[in-house]
Point group: C2
Chain length 415, copies 2
C-alpha cells in the first residue's frame, strides 16, 4: 500500500501544477496548492491566452470535487511574501512540496530590465522564502523543485545528473556540474539550485532538484472533462517549442525553428512529466540530501521535431510546412548533446507516450481551438530577441495554401 502524503504544490494553477494536483489527489494524497495567478497575468501581458480555455481556480476545484470527488485545498498567495510562504506551510503541514511556482519563460525574462529583474526576484526570492519557511516550520519535508535542463547549457561533453567525479591536475573530487544557462530565466533556476543545495547542507533539508526537458502535450491522466484541462500556451514567450509548432500547424502558419534548427534538447510528454514528479514525491531522499534528476524522455533536434509535427499534421490532412526564421536567441545552433537520465528510471519511470501518437492527440485537440489561436496570431512571431527586442513580427503571414484540408480533419472527442 502506498502511503498517503500531504503534498503542497506551489504554482498549482500552471501547466504542470494543475494536472499534477489531479494526479496526486487521484492517487490518494492530500493535495494543497498555492498560486498568485501570475502565469495568467503574464500571458495576458504579452497579448495571449491559453489555446485551450481553462476555468478559474474556484471552478476548477469545484469540478474536481463534484466530478472526481477530489478535495484540493487552495491558497491564494505569493511566495515573494515570506508570510505567505509561512502561512501555507503552517496550514498544509506538507510531507512534500512541489515547487513549480516560478516565472517559466526564457523570452519573457529577456524582454527588458524590468522582466529580467521580475523573473530573478520572483524565482530566487520566492524560493529563498520557501526554504527559510521550511526551515522554520517543516524542516523534514521534501522539496521537489522544478529546474530545467537549460541550467546546464550545451557543454561539449556528456551531462551527468547534477554532479560529476572529475580529476584535475592529479586530484579528484565530486563537484556540481558547471552551469552555463542561456537566459536570465534559466539563470534564475541555476541560482535556485545553488541556494537549495546550501540549505540542504547547512540545515539538513532534503530536496530533489528536477532538471526537466521541454514538456509538450495537451493531456494527462485524470483530465476526463474539458473543464479539467490544463492551460496550453502558444505565444513566443510562454509556448514551448513543440506546443508552438502544433498551434502553427493547425492554424496554417509555417513552423518556426530558430536559425539552423539543429539545436538538440531533451523532451518529455506532459503525462510523463507528471509521472516523474509523482515518483519524486513518493520516493523522498534522505535527510540533508540534495539530489538532482534529469527529467526527460528523448532527445530531438528542433528541425527533426518540426518534421515530425509536419508529418503528423499531414496524416490528419493538415497541410503544415516548415518555415525558417532568424534565431532570436543567442545559442549554439549545432552542438554535442548527450544527457544522463537514469535516476528516475531506477525509481520506476517508464515513458508511456510515443511522440508520434502524442503529436496526433495534440493536433486533434488543438483543431477545436483554431479560432482562439488565430485570434492571437500576432503573439506567435518571435519579437523578443536576446540582443534587444524588435518592434515588429519577423514571421510571415499564413501562406496561401494555409488551412487547406483543415476543415476536413475528423476531430476526435476527448478520450
Amino acid at each position: 500500500m502506498r502511503q498517503t502524503m500531504r503534498v503542497l504544490i506551489a504554482g498549482i494553477d500552471g501547466y504542470l501544477g494543475w494536472p499534477l494536483a489531479l494526479h496526486l489527489a487521484a492517487r490518494g494524497h492530500e493535495v494543497y496548492g498555492i498560486d498568485n495567478f501570475s502565469r495568467r497575468k503574464n500571458v495576458a501581458e504579452v497579448g495571449s491566452w491559453s489555446a485551450i480555455p481553462i476555468p478559474n481556480m474556484h471552478r476548477r476545484l469545484e469540478v474536481a470535487r463534484n466530478l472526481l470527488g477530489l478535495r484540493i485545498k487552495f491558497f491564494h498567495g505569493d511566495l515573494r511574501r515570506y508570510q505567505d510562504a509561512l502561512s501555507v506551510l503552517r496550514e498544509s503541514k506538507p510531507d512534500a512540496i512541489v515547487h513549480l511556482g516560478e516565472q517559466p519563460s526564457a523570452p519573457y525574462s529577456m524582454i527588458d530590465w524590468k522582466h529580467a529583474s521580475f523573473t530573478q526576484e520572483n524565482n530566487v526570492i520566492g524560493t529563498l522564502n520557501l526554504i527559510w519557511a521550511m526551515k522554520e516550520t517543516c524542516p523534514h519535508a521534501h522539496l521537489v523543485k522544478l529546474g530545467t535542463m537549460g541550467e546546464y547549457g550545451t557543454p561539449n561533453m556528456e551531462i551527468p545528473e547534477g554532479f560529476f567525479e572529475i580529476e584535475y591536475r592529479g586530484r579528484k573530487d565530486r563537484l556540481p556540474f558547471p552551469r552555463q544557462a542561456g537566459s536570465f530565466y534559466h539563470l534564475s533556476k541555476v541560482h535556485d539550485s545553488a541556494n537549495i543545495m546550501l540549505a540542504c547542507k547547512i540545515w539538513g533539508l532534503m530536496s530533489t532538484d528536477i532538471m526537466q526537458g521541454v514538456v509538450y502535450g495537451t493531456r494527462s491522466d485524470g483530465i476526463v472533462d474539458h473543464r479539467l484541462h490544463t492551460r496550453f500556451d502558444f505565444d513566443e514567450a510562454f509556448g514551448t517549442v513543440v506546443n508552438r509548432f502544433c498551434t502553427q500547424a493547425v492554424t496554417g502558419y509555417p513552423l518556426t525553428p530558430y536559425g539552423k534548427g539543429r539545436q538538440r534538447r531533451g523532451f518529455i510528454a506532459l503525462a510523463d512529466s507528471i509521472q516523474c514528479l509523482t515518483i519524486a514525491v513518493e520516493n523522498p531522499p534522505g535527510r540533508g540530501e540534495y539530489r538532482v534528476f534529469n527529467q526527460l524522455d528523448e532527445i530531438y533536434g528542433i528541425n527533426e521535431l518540426g518534421d515530425m509535427v509536419v508529418t503528423a499534421a499531414r496524416r490528419l490532412g493538415i497541410n503544415a510546412e516548415l518555415g525558417s526564421i532568424e534565431n532570436p536567441r543567442v545559442e549554439m545552433e549545432e552542438h554535442f548533446y548527450k544527457v544522463d537520465s537514469v535516476r528516475l528510471k531506477a525509481l520506476g519511470f517508464k515513458p508511456t507516450r510515443s511522440i508520434d501518437e502524442e503529436l496526433e492527440i495534440m493536433l486533434r485537440d488543438l483543431i477545436h481551438f483554431k479560432d482562439r489561436i488565430r485570434a492571437k496570431r500576432h503573439v506567435m512571431a518571435p519579437t523578443i530577441r536576446w540582443r534587444g527586442k524588435v518592434p515588429h513580427p519577423l514571421i510571415a503571414p499564413p501562406h496561401e495554401s494555409s488551412g487547406v484540408g483543415q476543415e476536413t480533419v475528423k476531430v476526435i472527442s476527448d478520450r
Copy 2:
C-alpha cells in the same frame, strides 16, 4: 603616459570604495561614485560602528578636494532602482565601472530570511540593473566586478581562475569552475558572476570578475590625513577575520578562530587590493570578454594568522592570546586549498605589503581607538550561526590579564 579614464565606483563609501577613489583620482583618472550608504546603516543595525571614525561623504569629498586637489563626483543612489543605475551611467559616461556596491557580509546574510532575502535582492538585482543599464547607455564600458574567493568554496582540487579545461568521459571542454559557496551572501556573488557572464556573451559587454581573498589593513596609499581614513569594521558580521583579530588583540579579548581554526583562505592587504583593482581598471579585456582574476597575495590558515597577530601584538607589548570558540558557520575546518593567481601578476601586480609589517601598522592604528572598539565589544562575539541565530554571545569577557602592557605601547602617528 597612462590614459586618463572615467571611472565610476559603485559603493564608493565602503572599505575598498573610498581608498580606491582616492587612489584612482590621484593617478589622474576622473572618478565618479555612487552609494546608498547601506553599509553604514547595516553596521549600525548590528549595533556597531567603524573602529576608525570616518566623516560623512560630503566631508570626505571636501577634504579630498581641499587637501589633495582631487575632485570626485558623488551620486546618492541605489542600484536596486533601475533609474538610478541609468542616471549615474548617463551622467558619468564611464570607461570603467568598479562595482563594489553590494552587501558584503556572510554572517549578515545568515541572520534570518529577511537578511538573506535583502542580501540576494540587493546584490543580484542591483547588478542585474547595472548590466542592463550598461547595455542601454555604455555597452563598451568595462565592468570590474567584486566577487569573492568564497564563490569557489573549498573543493578537493586546485582552484583555477574562473575556468578550467577538463576531460570527462573522453570529451574535453573549457567550463566555468564549479562554485560551492557557503552562505547566501557568497551565493549572491555566484549568481552575479553567472548573470554577468551571460551579459558578456549575448551583449558583448566586457567584464573582469574579481575573486578576492580576505582583505585586511587600515591603510592605503593616499590616506594622508585622518579625515581621509577608510572605515574599519570589527563586528561579527562586517569585520573580516584579520581585522577582527587585531581589534580583539588591542582590546584584550582572546582572538576567536572558529572551530579548529584550520580553515585556509587567501588574503590580501588593503593597499594591494587597491593596486589590483587599479590594474584591472587600467588593463581592460576585449569586447565581449568575461575574465576572472583570483585576487589574493598569500594563503594562511586561520590559527596561523591568529598566531601572527598574537606575535605582532606582543612585539608591541600587548598581551594578546588565542582563544577558542565553537564554529558558528557550517564549513570544512580542514581541507586542501591551492589557488591559481597569475593573471594579475602577469599584468604587473607586485605585493607591496608583508603581513607582519602590516599587522603592526594595524595594531598601532587601532590602539588609538581602543575605547571606541570596547564601547561596542558586544558585537565581537559570533551570535549569528549558520544553523540558526543564538541569542547570547559565546565569547568570554576579557581575561584578567587583558590590557596589560597596552598603555605602554608607543603609538606611532600616521605615516
